[in-house]
Symmetry: C2
Subunit: 164 residues, 2 copies
């Protein structure tokens, strides 16, 4: 099973008159994310399901991935909010294994969550050793049996600039 | 300073009548490595120097990178042989810092060395958690001061198929 951790695109700056969860992608953020999505499609990527944080900037990113043909199924989950915890979603989604062996699962969310979750999957702890840019992604192969924590392997980490 | 760890392309199989250090890239290995090199050039990558393992398959890979215009300087080092040790080359090349701050240094070598060295730079220890394919690469940002061991950050890890 492969897990793709995808960070939302460039969003509006924080401001007093807008709630964090309502910050939307900027025009540049949308365009860049669309180009990344198109490139992923051209590279034959396909996700069985895209699960997204319910925050607007993440949902818009997931919608762009869907529109590019990268998946036909999209779900929202509070596990992927900025305050989400990897142990909750690993328990809910991966133990017992709820997906068939070859599932390609994409999670759209936020930093520092995604790069820290990748570290926990690879090494069991966090050390701020991975740089995940907006609209960038991480590809991780989960072990066939047993807990994925500290036992997974990374095969891809890319900023968007190398996908344009 | 950025460090790029590049694995040699697809080489001839091991055989009784050929020494390991003389195994050459296959035709497919050359062609794929040339495509990767062209893509890296198109992405505006440039290395101040490419240091290569003296083994034929690594040297041929480095020569392809040079021919694609990715660097004008190539050196061989026994530190990058399969039996090489990261502590030796970190001491020789990085402590005291022998390169200017913004140097882009590419090392062409072998597995499992390269992915293990990346883990040691990021994490201080190895756990076989990174998958580095032939003609694939890893991009690492070294800290501006102090030892890079366990203190560096990875910004790129890609198999060749996502560069073609």
């Amino acid at each position: 099973m492969e897990l793709y951790l995808i960070r939302h695109g460039i969003a509006e700056d924080k401001a007093l008159n807008i709630k964090d969860e309502e910050r939307a992608l900027t025009r540049e953020g949308k365009e860049k994310t669309q180009k990344v999505a198109q490139r992923l499609f051209d590279l034959s990527l396909h996700f069985d399901v895209i699960v997204t944080s319910p925050l607007v900037r993440a949902k818009q990113t997931a919608e762009i991935l869907i529109a590019a043909g990268l998946s036909s199924q999209m779900e929202e989950s509070s596990h992927l909010k900025p305050e989400g915890n990897i142990h909750n979603w690993v328990t809910d989604w991966l133990e017992p294994r709820n997906y068939p062996q070859k599932t390609q699962l994409a999670l759209v969310g936020h930093e520092p969550n995604l790069s820290e979750w990748a570290e926990i999957l690879l090494w069991g702890e966090t050390k701020a050793s991975l740089v995940l840019k907006k609209a960038g992604m991480i590809g991780i192969k989960l072990p066939e049996i047993g807990s994925p924590l500290g036992r997974s392997q990374m095969f891809w980490l890319t900023p968007p600039k190398y996908l344009l």
